[in-house]
C-alpha cells in the first residue's frame, strides 16, 4: 500500500491538521508516513494544502505531485488539484461548499456534504474530520481506531468532550460513504 | 636581595611587541595585577582581538582565545555561557569595538553578559597603519583622512561609554587614561572593579582606556601624552558613566 494524498482548502478549514492526523494515524498503524505543509503568504484566510504519504514500505518524496487521492474542501482547490490526480485516483469533494464537479472521467469521485454533517453535529469546524472519515471508508489506508489514537497525540490540549465530538465527526464521514 | 617590584604572575615572561610609549603594555600589566590581587588567575579566560593586541594571547598567562575582528563580546558570550565559573574578558581596540563590532558590544550589554570588556581607545587604527577610526577626533589626520577628519565627510567621533550608558543591561562603565601615574592608578582601580563585578555576578562591565599611540600619531611620547590630555580628554571626558555594581 502506498497512498499519496493532497488535502486542500481555505486556511482555517483544518486541512493542515487533518493531514498531520492522517500521518500520525499511519504511524499508529506501524506504517511509514510523511506530511508536508503548504501555505499561502497569508497567516489567516488564504488557501492551504498539504501532502501526506502513508506507506507499508518506504516513503519516496514527501512532495505528492501526482496524488492517489485528493480531498477538496473548497471551490478554488478543485481546478488546482484535479489535473494532478493520478489516473484512476480518488477525489473526495466537500459538496457543502463546492458546486462544481470535475470534468475528468478517469477518476473516482465521492461527494460528501462535510460542513452540513459537521453542523448537524454542532460544530462547523470539524468538517475536516468528516472528510477524513470518508477517505478512510473509501481507501482503508488507516483504521478509524488509529485516527482516534492519533487525535490524543495531535490535539494534546483538546478537552475530552471535544475529542468525543471529533470521533463522532470521523464516524459520520465514514458512514456517509455507501 | 629583596624583590621590590616584579611582573604580575598573571602575565607571561614573553617580551611584548608594542611600540615604545604605547598604552597597551600598561593596561596588560594593570589587568595582570588585578587577576593576582583578586586571586582569579586560574579562572580567567581572555579573548584577544584583531588589531595591535592580536598577540595578547601570548602575554596573558591564562587560557586565551583569539577571535575575529569585532566579535570579542560574542566569543566571550559563548565561553561564559559554557563555563559560567570562568572569569571572561574581551580586550578590544576602537576599530574593533566601535566600528566593525558595534552590534556585538551593544548586544552583549543588552543581554548584560556577565563579562568584562577592556576597550582601548587611541583614536586610530594602529596595526593597519594609522587609518581613521570611529573615535578619531575632528581635524585629526589619519592615512584615510589626510586632511584631517571632516564631520561633513566622515561624521563625528563616537563616545562609547556615553552611548552604552543608555542600555539597561550595561552595569558598569568608566573611562580612564594611562597618561600619568595618577591616572594609571585610577585605571587600575577601574579595571580591578570591572573584574570584581564579574566575580560578584553584576553583569556587563566595560572600562574604556584612553591610550596613546605615538607611532600613528607621528608624535614623540611626551607629545602623545600631551595629545591625550589636551585633545582626547575634552572629547572623551574621564569618569564613571554608570555604576550599578551594588544594586
Amino acid at each position: 500500500m502506498y497512498q499519496g494524498i493532497r488535502i486542500a482548502g481555505f486556511g482555517g478549514q483544518g486541512v493542515i491538521s487533518a493531514g498531520i492526523l492522517l500521518a500520525q494515524a499511519g504511524v499508529e498503524d506501524k506504517k511509514n508516513a510523511s506530511w508536508l505543509p503548504s501555505y499561502g503568504p497569508e497567516m489567516r484566510g488564504g488557501t492551504a494544502n498539504c501532502s501526506v504519504v502513508v506507506s507499508d514500505g518506504e516513503v519516496y518524496t514527501p512532495i505528492v505531485s501526482s496524488p492517489d487521492t485528493v480531498i477538496i474542501m473548497n471551490e478554488p482547490s478543485l481546478p488546482k488539484f484535479e489535473p494532478l490526480l493520478k489516473k484512476g485516483g480518488l477525489m473526495i469533494i466537500n459538496s457543502s461548499l463546492i458546486n462544481s464537479r470535475p470534468t475528468r472521467t478517469d477518476i473516482t469521485v465521492v461527494c460528501v456534504p462535510c460542513n452540513k454533517i459537521a453542523e448537524e453535529l454542532g460544530m462547523d469546524r470539524i468538517a475536516n474530520l468528516v472528510a477524513l472519515g470518508a477517505f478512510i471508508k473509501q481507501t482503508g489506508a488507516v483504521t478509524l481506531q488509529s485516527v482516534e489514537h492519533a487525535m490524543k497525540k495531535v490535539y494534546k490540549r483538546a478537552k475530552p468532550e471535544m475529542l468525543e465530538l471529533n470521533k463522532k465527526a470521523l464516524q459520520a464521514g465514514y458512514d456517509a460513504v455507501k | 636581595m629583596t624583590i621590590i617590584a616584579k611582573k604580575p604572575a598573571s602575565l607571561t615572561d614573553l617580551p611584548m611587541h608594542y611600540c615604545p610609549g604605547c598604552g597597551h603594555g600598561i593596561v596588560h600589566r594593570l589587568m595582570g595585577e588585578a587577576f593576582d590581587e583578586l586571586n582569579i588567575a586560574d579562572r580567567v579566560i581572555g579573548v584577544a582581538p584583531v588589531g595591535c593586541a592580536v598577540f595578547a594571547d601570548s602575554y596573558f598567562a591564562c587560557d586565551m582565545v583569539q577571535g575575529a575582528h569585532g566579535r570579542g563580546p560574542a566569543i566571550a558570550t559563548g565561553i561564559k555561557r559554557s563555563k559560567p565559573q570562568a572569569i571572561v574578558f574581551s580586550y578590544q581596540g576602537d576599530g574593533d569595538l566601535a566600528s566593525i563590532g558595534m552590534a556585538e558590544i551593544v548586544h552583549a550589554a543588552v543581554r548584560s553578559e556577565n563579562i568584562t570588556v577592556i576597550f582601548i581607545n587611541n583614536a586610530i587604527y594602529g596595526m593597519t597603519g594609522g587609518q581613521m577610526a570611529p573615535t578619531t577626533l575632528v581635524g585629526q589626520v589619519a592615512t584615510t583622512a589626510p586632511k584631517g577628519r571632516d564631520p561633513k565627510l566622515q561624521g563625528w567621533p563616537i563616545n562609547m561609554c556615553e552611548m552604552l550608558a543608555q542600555i539597561t543591561g550595561a552595569k558598569y562603565l568608566e573611562r580612564v587614561a594611562v597618561d600619568s601615574p595618577q591616572n594609571v592608578m585610577k585605571a587600575k582601580k577601574a579595571i580591578k572593579k570591572a573584574f570584581e563585578n564579574q566575580v560578584n555576578g553584576v553583569g556587563f562591565s566595560m572600562v574604556e582606556v584612553l591610550s596613546q599611540c605615538p607611532t600613528n600619531w607621528y608624535a614623540s611620547v611626551p607629545q602623545a601624552l600631551e595629545f591625550v590630555r589636551t585633545k582626547m580628554m575634552p572629547q572623551y571626558p574621564l569618569g564613571v558613566f554608570k555604576d550599578e555594581g551594588g544594586k
Partner: protein
C-alpha cells in the same frame, strides 16, 4: 533505538542535537529553520545547556567559536543567506581546529531568494565557503530520521578530526513531518572525555591553552598538517547509499531530498522495464568519488539530479573523469524534482533526446529547458521579506 514517532524535520534535528550532547546553541531567526532555535529555546535549559538568540548570524557563529573553544558541544543553525554571513566564523573555526556543528536548512538563492527548499549552497558547503584553504565535513540527510541522527555522527567526526561539521538539509526536509526514531541513547556530555586543547578554568597549573587563528610564520606548516587530516578523511570517511546501482543502465546521482524523488523514479523505471539505479552521497565532503567511479564505469550513462544549477554535477564529473557520459537534470532556485520528470530525462538519455536534460551552453544557444515547479506548493510561494 526509540519507538517510531512523527516529527517535524527541524524539531527532530534539534532534539537529536540535544541527545547528542549539544549544550550550547546560538542562532538568529530565518525561514525555513526557525523551529530549530525555537525548540532549543524551550529545551536547552532543561538539558543543562545554554541557548542564546544572537544579534546576528555573524555573532551567533562567533558565540559558537567561543563555546567550542571550551570543548562544549556547540552548534548553530541557519538558512542560506544566514550561512553566508556565518562564513567568517566558519573559517576561523576551521583555522583554530575547533569541532562544532553548523546546520544549513537551504532555501532558494542567490540573495534573499525565496523560502522554498533548495540545494543551491552545495559549492559553498563543499568548497569551504569562507576564505583560505580549508574544508568542513558535510553531511547530507535525506529523511527526518537522518536529520535526527546525524548530529551525533557530526560531532563524532568533528571531534575526531578537530574541524567543523555541517549538516546540509533543505527547506522541505526541515518543514516536513515524518515517522522517525533515534538510533542512539541520549549522551551525557559530562561523560565524554575532556579535550586537552580546550580553554577552561585550571587549578592545577597546567600549561596555558591558546585557541588561535593567526598563525604567522607557522601558517604553511599548519595548513599542510591539516591537509594530512583532510586526506585521511577522504580515504576513510566517505559515506553513501546505493539502490539498484550494480548493473543499471542509467545511474542517478542525487543527495538529500532530490534522492527521494530519484527513488520514486527508480521504482517507476522498474515497472517500465528500465534499469535505473541510484547513488546517493551521504557525505558531500568527503565526496564518495571512488565508489561512484566504479559504479559509473559499468553504466551506460550517469544522470545527476540536483536542486541547483549544475553544482553537484561537477563533483560527479570529477569522480567519473570522462569514462561515462554525465547528464544533468537540474531544479534550481526552489524547483522540486519528481519521479516522472526524472524518468523523462532518463528516457531522453536512452533515446538521444533532450527533454529534461540541462546543458548550460546549449541553453545559451537557445535550447529551452523547462524547470518544473509544483505551484500547488504554496510554501514555495513567496513570503515577502522572507526572514
Amino acid at each position: 533505538m526509540t519507538e517510531k514517532t512523527l516529527r517535524k524535520g527541524n524539531e527532530a534535528l534539534a532534539e537529536g542535537a540535544i541527545r547528542a550532547g549539544v549544550r550550547f546553541f546560538a542562532g538568529y531567526p530565518i525561514t525555513p529553520q526557525n523551529e530549530v532555535p525555537e525548540y532549543m529555546s524551550a529545551h536547552m535549559a532543561e538539558a543543562g545547556g545554554a541557548f542564546v538568540q544572537a544579534e546576528s548570524e555573524v555573532a551567533a557563529i562567533n558565540m559558537v567559536y567561543g563555546a567550542a573553544s571550551t570543548g562544549t558541544r556547540s552548534m548553530t543553525s541557519s538558512s542560506s543567506p544566514g550561512v553566508s554571513l556565518k562564513q567568517e566564523g566558519i573559517t576561523y573555526l576551521a583555522s583554530a581546529d575547533l569541532p562544532c556543528l553548523i546546520v544549513n536548512v537551504m532555501r532558494g538563492g542567490p540573495g534573499l531568494g525565496s523560502i522554498s527548499g533548495s540545494q543551491g549552497d552545495y559549492f559553498q558547503a563543499t568548497r569551504g565557503g569562507g576564505n583560505g584553504d580549508y574544508h568542513v565535513i558535510v553531511l547530507a540527510p535525506n529523511s527526518v530520521e537522518e536529520l535526527g541522527n546525524f548530529p551525533k555522527l557530526g560531532f563524532e567526526l568533528a571531534e575526531k578530526y578537530r574541524m567543523p561539521c555541517m549538516i546540509l538539509a533543505d527547506g522541505i526536509l526541515g518543514q516536513m513531518m515524518e515517522s522517525m526514531s533515534f538510533n542512539f541513547d541520549p549522551i551525557d556530555p559530562n561523560q565524554l572525555g575532556k579535550f586537552d586543547w580546550a580553554v577552561d578554568i585550571h587549578k592545577n597549573g597546567r600549561k596555558k591553552n591558546n585557541v588561535f587563528s593567526y598563525k604567522g610564520d607557522n601558517l604553511i606548516a599548519d595548513v599542510v598538517e591539516r591537509a594530512k587530516r583532510y586526506g585521511l578523511i577522504e580515504k576513510t570517511e566517505a559515506r553513501w547509499e546505493e539502490r539498484e546501482a550494480e548493473g543499471c543502465d542509467v545511474l542517478l546521482v542525487a543527495y538529500g531530498l532530490s534522492s527521494r524523488a530519484c527513488l520514486e523514479a527508480v521504482n517507476k523505471a522498474k515497472e517500465e522495464g528500465l534499469k535505473v539505479g541510484l547513488f546517493r552521497p551521504i557525505t558531500l565532503w568527503p565526496f564518495p568519488s571512488k565508489r561512484l567511479a566504479e559504479l559509473a564505469g559499468k553504466a551506460k550513462a550517469v544522470l545527476t539530479v540536483e536542486q541547483s544549477l549544475g553544482q553537484l554535477v561537477q563533483d560527479v564529473k570529477l569522480a567519473i573523469n570522462g569514462k561515462t557520459p554525465v547528464y544533468l537534470n537540474a531544479y534550481p532556485a526552489g524547483g522540486q524534482p519528481d519521479g516522472n520528470t526524472i524518468l523523462t530525462a532518463v528516457r531522453s538519455i536512452l533515446s538521444g533526446g533532450k527533454e529534461g536534460l540541462f546543458d548550460l551552453q546549449e541553453h545559451a544557444d537557445g535550447f529551452n529547458y523547462e524547470c518544473k515547479r509544483d505551484t500547488s506548493l504554496g510554501m514555495q510561494g513567496d513570503l515577502k521579506g522572507g526572514k
